[in-house]
């Protein structure tokens, strides 16, 4: 691998195409169930999806509505007239021999999004366009044969095509993450990455810094996690520089990401590029919208990430905490509600609990079942208990997790488990006296007297232990010092 000094003389340029599966009930052109997770192969398929002779597509208007919302989230103009085209190629995952897509007149026009980076700065990434299309089926390969599952065939997608405005692997990851937030917040997709609800194709080229002409790009197809977007970009950056440094030429090709080996592998070179013979689809009339319809569809857009960021700027949260929170729309909503109902202090406490307590980037649907039960009022009560030192910060985490395990009422949980801190000076003083009188403490007392102040922590710990965690540690320390 090239030395860091060499790497530093290059810059990468990245454009990303993102496929987003829309959260509609039925498929883009048929009445088949659009949710085929954990279903038997070919069980969510009707004759239209099967490409039977004589079958005709019937456009799902819900997919149009979700696309119009996605356009709003991307700060894009919505085309008042858009049209479907056919993209032809032969493969068993494509029952009609063509994919119905929007080549010439996409529904979502140019836009841009501000992508927040970990250091708190942001980079603007322009959106070239986004178009509607149908997903293909899935092939599973065995020794000597392959099986076709058409459950996914006809699932509505939008493909969001960015301009090549990204220049680091971290920014590529941040872009992918922000797109995920935007699409889940606006209700466009369930955002379940594990089930392929969002998939990324990363186009990357490298060139010497200061050179305006872009290098030859490679396309890394079908990345399904933010991490793999970042790692694949890093890997390609190094690979392409190695080629250039050794006097070679980067070939324009499609590559895949091998997650086990953490590297990209060549799949198809430009010479094998297919001629898709695009043609307007005569079976589907153009989608025609009025400005009023667009406004109506976009009128109930949920709060988008940037609005939360602005609202939380007064909380003094780390960027990483904010990003973790924004990873799950429902969590962001709860923290915002706590902020509105109980103020910045309570919101900060709850935000930090979310950042430390639960995983991020789980799909809305996965967490929603448990989340349903957790209310902002419960979180406000929990924040109040922390503020009044009724519970320790560790106890707060435990109660928070208990709430997300399906329990209710933070105070009841604390009481039932004897978790409330004792701030009764007399009661704690009794325990303090017991600890000081304990012969086991003699050595530590000597240390403290000889100037090792830190050793007092051991005694506080003993008080906590004896009180089964209920003593207010600050109070215990104060009493210990007084007695010493």
């Amino acid at each position: 691998m090239a030395q860091k000094e060499v790497l530093d003389t290059y810059e990468m340029t990245i454009g990303i195409e993102c496929h987003v599966q829309l959260a509609t009930k039925t498929k883009l052109f048929s009445a088949a169930d659009n949710d085929a997770r954990d279903s038997e192969p070919n069980s969510k398929v009707v004759p239209v999806d099967y490409g039977l002779p004589g079958m005709l597509p019937v456009l799902n208007w819900e997919a149009v509505r979700l696309s119009v919302r996605a356009g709003k989230a991307l700060n894009s103009e919505i085309a008042l007239r858009s049209h479907f085209d056919r993209k032809h190629y032969f493969y068993p995952d494509l029952p009609k021999g063509y994919q119905t897509t929007q080549m010439y007149e996409p529904i979502i026009g140019p836009g841009s999004i501000a992508v927040p980076l970990e250091d708190g700065s942001a980079v603007d990434v322009r959106i070239h366009h986004a178009h509607m299309e149908e997903d293909a089926g899935k092939l599973t390969h065995f020794d000597g044969y392959s099986l076709v599952d058409l459950n996914r065939a006809g699932t509505p997608l939008i493909e969001i095509v960015s301009e090549p405005d990204i220049h680091s692997a971290a920014a590529a990851r941040a872009y992918a993450t922000e797109l995920h937030r935007l699409m889940t917040y606006s209700g466009v997709t369930h955002g379940d990455l594990y089930h392929g609800n969002m998939r990324f194709d990363v186009n990357i080229s490298v060139a010497k810094k200061g050179v305006t002409e872009l290098g030859t790009r490679a396309e890394i197809k079908n990345l399904n996690s933010f991490r793999s977007v970042e790692r694949a970009a890093e890997y390609e950056f190094n690979r392409q520089i190695d080629i250039l440094e050794s006097g070679g030429k980067v070939v324009q090709e499609t590559r895949g990401w091998d997650d086990d080996r953490q590297l990209t592998v060549s799949q198809r070179s430009k010479e094998d590029a297919q001629d898709y013979r695009y043609m307007p689809d005569p079976d589907i009339p153009p989608i025609v919208l009025t400005p009023e319809e667009v406004a109506e569809i976009q009128s109930d857009m949920p709060v988008l990430p940037q609005i939360y960021r602005d609202a939380w700027s007064s909380l003094g949260l780390d960027t990483s905490v904010v990003n973790t929170l924004l990873g799950t729309r429902r969590h962001a909503e709860l923290v915002r509600k706590v902020q509105l109902d109980a103020g910045d202090g309570a919101a900060t406490r709850i935000a930090n609990l979310f950042a430390s307590g639960l995983g991020s980037n789980s799909s809305d649907e996965q967490v929603s079942a448990i989340d349903e039960g957790v209310s902002a009022d419960e979180l406000i009560e929990l924040a109040g208990m922390i503020e009044k030192s009724e519970i320790s910060s560790n106890t707060a985490k435990d109660i928070f997790k208990a709430l997300y395990a399906g329990e209710h009422n933070p105070r009841a949980i604390a009481e039932a488990n004897n978790l409330l801190q004792n701030s009764d000076t007399d009661a704690i003083a009794v325990v303090v006296d017991e600890i000081l009188a304990d012969p086991a403490s003699a050595k530590v007392l000597e240390d403290i007297r000889s100037g090792n102040d830190k050793a007092i922590g051991y005694l506080v710990g003993q008080v906590m232990k004896k009180s089964r965690g209920q003593a207010n540690p600050a109070l215990a320390q104060e009493l210990l010092r007084k007695k010493l």
Partner: protein, 461 residues
């Protein structure tokens, strides 16, 4: 045979007897009309009519469908080897509509494979012979449908018309055939040829029957986004009994007898109080060129699904995936299918799309504008259906271009999406039928049938 006559017979005997008689006629047919009969299903349904379980305006009336309509009781072959054993799991909307009125489909009839052709010579199931002269073609691609009606096997037959496939065989065999306005009848459940010009129509004994059937068949279908809301009523305000005779159709290349018969029909319309003027549509000279770019393009797309993977005959399974594709398609398609797939793939390919497909679509827009402009001054346009009566079997098979020229008078209305009906007016000296074509404004299907009816009444009294 009129529909009313069959209904009388059902009343006098039984639906089972009427359907059984139609089945017998179909079996005795010597013109190679039928591909498959759906005998048991037809008789079951006839028994239901007799039991009073099935009612409607066509209760017990037998019919046949061109074998590109999906239906129960018999395979849907599209006259191809590829779909030889394809049993459809559903029925075309229009078959359902006719059956909901009590009509009984007794079988599926011959066509050019996938409806590619104008003579029913391109079928994997043999040539259908002309109803009048068995050494001549039936026309096509709805040749089986036309001969079935002309030979009196059934009173009506379903057909499809993409560039003349109903009108030309209707004219060749002396029956009425209508190509409705594009979108008037649902295409759901009909094997697609060229989606932008495919229309579903019917061939019948006379104009009155045709109007009744159109009343049943037309209307919006939620399964076909290109269908129009129900409109089968006279839409336009007649401009005062004024017809335009298309000059370009009467000029070079037309058989003198056909020309003479059309001019005689013009005189008949004049005697009915019509004013008839010759009109010129200069864009017509490009119609065939436009058609043979746009239609093959759509054919190459619509036929991509026949890959041998999910249904239809599969060849080459022991080889690679590519073998399955190549060998299944090689074995399943007829030469004319392959020719059109190749032309279509060519005009859509990168670098040629703009020069061919896009340019053809622009020219098509100009043609439509010209039609609209002329039709704003007339009730309808009239002219011949084809340059000559039915030609000899084998006459054009070695020369695809010559065969395509047969479509020159029918493709313009298809490209413009206009309704057009072919009505028998006379025969030539050898007794071969000759029809007149009446082309109307968009959605004016009922009006052109009314105009056709006047001529029919004049001739038959």
């Amino acid at each position: 045979m009129k529909i009313a006559k069959q209904i009388d017979e059902v009343a006098a005997t039984s639906a089972v007897a009427v359907v059984r008689a139609a089945l017998e006629r179909a079996k005795a047919d010597k013109n190679n009309v039928v591909i498959n009969l759906s005998e048991s299903r037809a008789l079951e349904r006839a028994a239901k009519v007799d039991a009073g379980e099935l009612k409607g305006r066509l209760a017990g009336v037998p019919f046949v469908a061109k074998d590109n309509f999906l239906g129960y009781g018999a395979p849907t072959t599209a006259a191809s080897k590829l779909l030889k054993s394809f049993d459809a799991p559903l029925q075309a909307t229009v078959v359902e509509k006719l059956e909901s009125e009590g009509a009984i489909c007794i079988g599926k009839v011959n066509l050019d494979a996938f409806a590619h052709g104008g003579s029913t010579e391109n079928s994997a199931y043999g040539v259908t012979r002309n109803a009048v002269d068995p050494t001549r073609v039936a026309g096509g691609s709805s040749g089986g449908s036309a001969v079935a009606v002309a030979r009196g096997i059934v009173p009506f037959a379903l057909g499809t018309d993409t560039g003349g496939s109903i009108r030309q065989p209707a004219s060749f065999n002396g029956v009425v055939g209508i190509k409705p306005t594009y979108g008037a009848v649902s295409r759901y459940g009909v094997v697609a040829m060229a989606s932008g010009t495919d229309t579903i129509g019917v061939l019948a004994h006379d104009v009155e029957d045709t109007a009744l059937l159109m009343d049943i068949m037309t209307g919006q279908d939620t399964k076909d986004m290109t269908t129009l809301p129900d409109f089968f009523a006279v839409q336009s305000t007649p401009t005062g009994k004024k017809l335009g005779l298309i000059k370009e159709f009467m000029a070079e290349g037309i058989d003198p007898i056909v020309r003479a018969r059309i001019l005689a029909a013009v005189e008949q319309y004049k005697s009915l109080g019509y004013e008839v003027e010759e009109v010129s549509l200069p864009m017509l000279k490009y119609a065939l060129a436009i058609y043979y770019i746009v239609v093959p393009a759509e054919i190459s797309s619509n036929l991509a699904r026949y890959d041998g993977v999910r249904y239809g005959s599969r060849v080459g399974n022991e080889g690679t995936l590519r073998d399955v594709y190549e060998l299944s398609r090689q074995a399943g398609f007829e030469p004319e299918n392959k020719r059109r797939i190749i032309i279509g793939s060519y005009v859509l390919s990168s670098g040629f799309f703009d020069a061919y497909y896009q340019k053809a679509q622009k020219a098509r827009t100009l043609l439509i504008r010209e039609f609209n402009d002329v039709l704003s001054r007339y009730d309808a346009l009239i002219g011949p259906v084809a340059p000559s009566p039915a030609f000899k079997i084998g006459n054009n098979t070695d020369d695809p271009l010559k065969m395509y020229l047969e479509d020159v008078m029918t493709v313009p209305a298809s490209l413009a999406g206009l309704p057009a009906v072919s009505v028998p007016i006379d025969t030539n000296d050898e007794g071969l039928p000759i029809g007149i074509q009446i082309i109307g404004k968009r959605r004016d299907d009922a009006h052109i049938l009314a105009i056709a009816r006047e001529l029919e009444e004049l001739r038959h009294g």
